[in-house]
């Protein structure tokens, strides 16, 4: 127990130290407004940015960094952590480090595409419905209600069984499911805003709906949406992981963290840390993204302290 605590403390120290170094580096290479904002950034935020930058680098440079190729079977299964397999091998004898590195590319790419799609569709429709109201609002809201009332996992299962499990359909299906959630949030936030006096004023000025949404409502609704984005982003990993629980998900031999957690999950019963690695990779990214989101949230809120 004490050793675990020590590890945790050490990890936090390393994280903060790297966050501090990264902030110093950012301040050194930027100037003006950007530099000022980095100067005010908390260490958690810069640590988050550092992690994101590293993940992006790993994702982009995967073929260069990875010691082996993505699908190559290099040896026996479940080899221990020793050179040249620094994190051992998986159930088929593929290098785990390599799989993790390629997993970054596939998982982060898919998650980002899905979340972006869900947000563009969901938030625009939500804001539109709240602004226009009337039958547009009713039709959209009832449709979204109907879609949301079907449990997400079962809905995805139905759609993926019907449309097949290519990456494109996976992205579209998860984005559809997520967009309904975003829609609801965006609409409810915007509903609180459209009754504000300055919106009344803008309407009286004769501003068009599009302008009203993008100029007046969106900026004021951004904070909860950004917070939601941080969470939705990591929910995509979880959705893929849950789908692989049902035998759907990303096609092999493509590496993705969600499926990797699933494949090795039973080992956790014996205290084996292998399944913790992909799960840890997801967790680290989630925490990092949300630290940055928090910082942005704080800035957007206009709070000075």
């Amino acid at each position: 127990m004490v050793t675990i605590l020590l590890y945790v403390v050490a990890a936090i120290a390393v994280a903060l130290a790297s966050g501090w170094l990264f902030r110093a580096a950012l301040i050194a290479i930027t100037k003006g407004e950007l530099q000022r904002s980095f100067r005010g950034a908390p260490l958690t935020a810069t640590f988050g940015m550092l992690v994101i930058v590293i993940y992006i680098l790993v994702a982009v440079l995967a073929p260069v960094i990875a010691p082996f190729s993505e699908r190559e079977v290099v040896g026996a299964q479940y080899l221990p952590w020793a050179a040249p397999y620094y994190l051992g091998t998986d159930n088929l004898g593929r290098d785990l480090l390599t799989r993790l590195i390629y997993g970054a590319r596939n998982t982060v790419g898919i998650a980002f595409a899905t979340t972006a799609l869900a947000f563009i569709a969901g938030s625009l429709l939500g804001l539109w419905a709240a602004t226009v109201g009337g039958w547009v609002d009713q039709v959209l809201s009832r449709l979204v209600d109907a879609l949301m009332a079907i449990p997400a996992l079962i809905f995805s299962l139905l759609l993926l069984t019907i449309f097949g499990t290519s990456v494109t359909s996976l992205v579209l299906v998860i984005a559809t499911v997520d967009a309904t959630r975003v829609y609801r949030l965006a609409r409810s936030v915007a509903q609180g805003i459209v009754v504000m006096d300055y919106i009344e004023a803008a309407k009286l000025r004769g501003e068009g709906t599009w302008r009203l949404i993008t100029r007046e409502i969106l900026p004021n609704a951004l904070a909860p949406l950004v917070a939601e984005f941080g969470l939705r982003f990591c929910f995509v990993f979880l959705a893929i992981s849950a789908l692989s629980f049902l035998g759907l998900g990303i096609q092999p031999p493509t590496a993705d963290w969600g499926s990797m957690v699933r494949e090795n999950a039973t080992l956790i019963n014996f205290g084996d840390v292998t399944p913790l690695l992909p799960a840890g990779a997801i967790a680290l990214l989630t925490v990092a993204v949300n630290f940055v989101v928090d910082w942005q949230l704080h800035r957007a809120s206009g709070l000075k302290e």
């Binding site: 079977v73 998900g249 014996f270």
Partner: protein, 520 residues
């Protein structure tokens, strides 16, 4: 002497891996853990965690299709004939059976057997129980096997079955798990009742969750059903099943995740049973469709995979290498000297060249519904084949609907066979031209001739020769890649004692662990 033949299930769904095995049943168990022929002791509640069972499971015997339904049935029902630990037929509710010409079969029904409800079993009950599986409106899965039956009638304490053609092995059908004897009224059994003549009485049953049973005080067998009670739990998730065993919530689990077997052994407190049968995993190729219509392409693929690696990694060593031969090592006529195919990229390239190709691109469709680890096996296949210039694209299909969408629809996919105990049955089911489950759509003139001829041959050596030639043909000219034979792997608590010999006829000691095992 007639050939032993079992008309066990042909159902492939429900992940029933493996079937009757007549012959050697290897029991891999450390000598220290082997129970020293102890005398069975009565007592205790035996809790079994089974990786099957669904909320839609019913009580209609014609529709049982998973290990949960089968084990639950074995606990509460008896059949006319059972398959013993040595995979020989043994009398159960039929005291004996005989035929003079192979078309008229007489089963002498045991007297004085009562159902749980107190009703005495009559010959009419037996007739009704069998008739449930025939006739136009029957929905039973074993209905095809009753097609040759023209009449079933009671005759004193006998049941007489008449066939439209001689079949020396008909008695084997009576050991099928779909055929429990149930009480009847007006010539019909009630397919929603759980009343039976077996060793345990049902207390409660919640489909897909659990069943509790208590010992039948009036059970006619005195040397069976040692436990005071049975609890059957449906635990689908492999990790949950393992946890249930490790925390002592159950005493026995089936289908142990191969990745965890060694860890479980090292932990102590449990025994692992690994029972080998004739069950095997298959990658059938549609022999009508290009490029699989060229035997050279098929041979290239057969030399393009590492079978031992698959046994090690997919089965965790709990199985053996198969040489594209559907006849397992437990069979009488198993061709031991069949030329082995090892991973040989040069040979694979050679055959590709013979087929006039430099490289080959094929898609292999798989889902874990085909067999546990099917997708991984396909990935391993693809990896090794790449070294021989063969590009196999692995396509994972959803588990849901796999048998409808993929099997016998896609030209190259993953599948499994329970392994037929009798050579003729295996070949007839999946390799004879035009057979309903000939999943490679294979049609080989010499093979078809041999198959028909061999049925009539009496001379053992001649038969052996013919069946070995057939194995040779399937292995080298057939349209299936058969990488491995898989074992049944179970884990049980050290408190549980088993007979020295465990049946290889189906999983869980032929479903009979509930009445054959006991607490040490």
């Amino acid at each position: 002497m007639t050939q032993p033949r079992t008309f066990t299930d042909i159902s492939r769904r429900g992940v029933i891996r493996g079937a009757a095995t007549i012959g050697a049943a290897a029991l891999i168990l450390p000598a220290s853990l082997r129970p020293a022929a102890a005398q069975p002791k009565p007592g205790g509640v035996f809790r079994v965690g089974i990786g099957h069972g669904s909320t839609t499971d019913g009580l209609d015997p014609g529709l049982w299709d998973n290990l949960y339904a089968q084990t639950f049935a074995a606990a509460r029902h008896n059949q006319l004939i059972e398959v013993d630990a040595n995979t020989q037929l043994a009398p159960e509710l039929a005291e004996r059976w005989e035929t003079t010409d192979g078309t008229t079969w007489t089963f002498k029904i045991r007297e004085g057997v009562t159902f749980h409800s107190g009703k005495t079993m009559t010959v009419d009950d037996v007739v009704a129980s069998l008739n449930h599986h025939r006739g136009d409106d029957s929905t039973s899965a074993v209905k095809p096997f009753f097609e040759p039956v023209t009449d079933i009638k009671a005759d004193g304490q006998n049941v007489v079955v008449t066939l439209n053609a001689a079949n020396a092995d008909f008695a084997y059908l009576m050991s099928d798990y779909h055929l429990p004897i149930m009480p009847s009224t007006d010539g019909k059994i009630d397919p929603t009742s759980n009343d039976g003549a077996g060793g345990y009485v049902v207390e409660s049953y919640e489909p897909g969750v659990q069943a509790t049973l208590t010992k039948n005080p009036n059970y006619w067998k005195s040397d069976r059903a040692h436990f005071d009670g049975i609890e059957l739990l449906s635990i689908i998730d492999p990790a949950a099943r393992l946890n249930a065993l490790m925390t002592g919530a159950v005493d026995l689990i089936d289908q142990v995740d191969v990745a965890t077997i060694e860890l479980l052994k090292a932990r102590g407190g449990n025994q692992i049973l690994s029972i080998s049968g004739n069950a095997h995993y298959v990658f059938p190729m549609d022999s009508r469709a290009a490029p699989f219509d060229d035997n050279n392409v098929r041979l290239a693929l057969k030399y393009g995979l590492d079978r031992q690696e698959m046994v090690d990694k997919i089965l965790g060593g709990h199985g053996s290498v198969a040489n594209d031969n559907p006849i397992g090592p437990a069979s009488r006529y198993f061709f031991t000297d069949l030329e082995a195919k090892s991973y040989d990229p040069d040979k694979a390239k050679f055959y590709l060249k013979e087929a006039g190709m430099e490289t080959l691109d094929v898609t292999l469709t798989a889902a874990d519904a085909a067999f546990t680890g099917a997708v991984d096996a396909a990935v391993l296949f693809s990896e090794k084949a790449a070294g021989a210039g063969i590009n196999i694209t692995v396509e994972r299909a959803p588990n849901d609907g796999y048998w409808d969408n993929v099997w016998m629809k896609k030209p190259f996919c993953a599948s499994y066979w329970g392994g037929r105990p009798v050579e003729d049955q295996m070949f007839t089911t999946a390799y004879s031209s035009g057979a309903a489950w000939n999943d490679s759509f294979w049609d080989h003139t010499r093979f078809n001739e041999l198959l028909v001829e061999a049925r009539a041959v009496v001379d053992e050596d001649k038969r052996r020769e013919m069946y070995q030639e057939m194995q040779q043909i399937v292995s080298f000219e057939g349209s299936v890649v058969i990488p491995m034979y898989n074992n049944y792997v179970m884990a049980l608590s050290d408190k549980v004692a088993t007979p020295e010999k465990i049946s290889a006829n189906w999983n869980l000691d032929g479903f009979r662990c509930v009445e054959r095992w006991w607490f040490a």
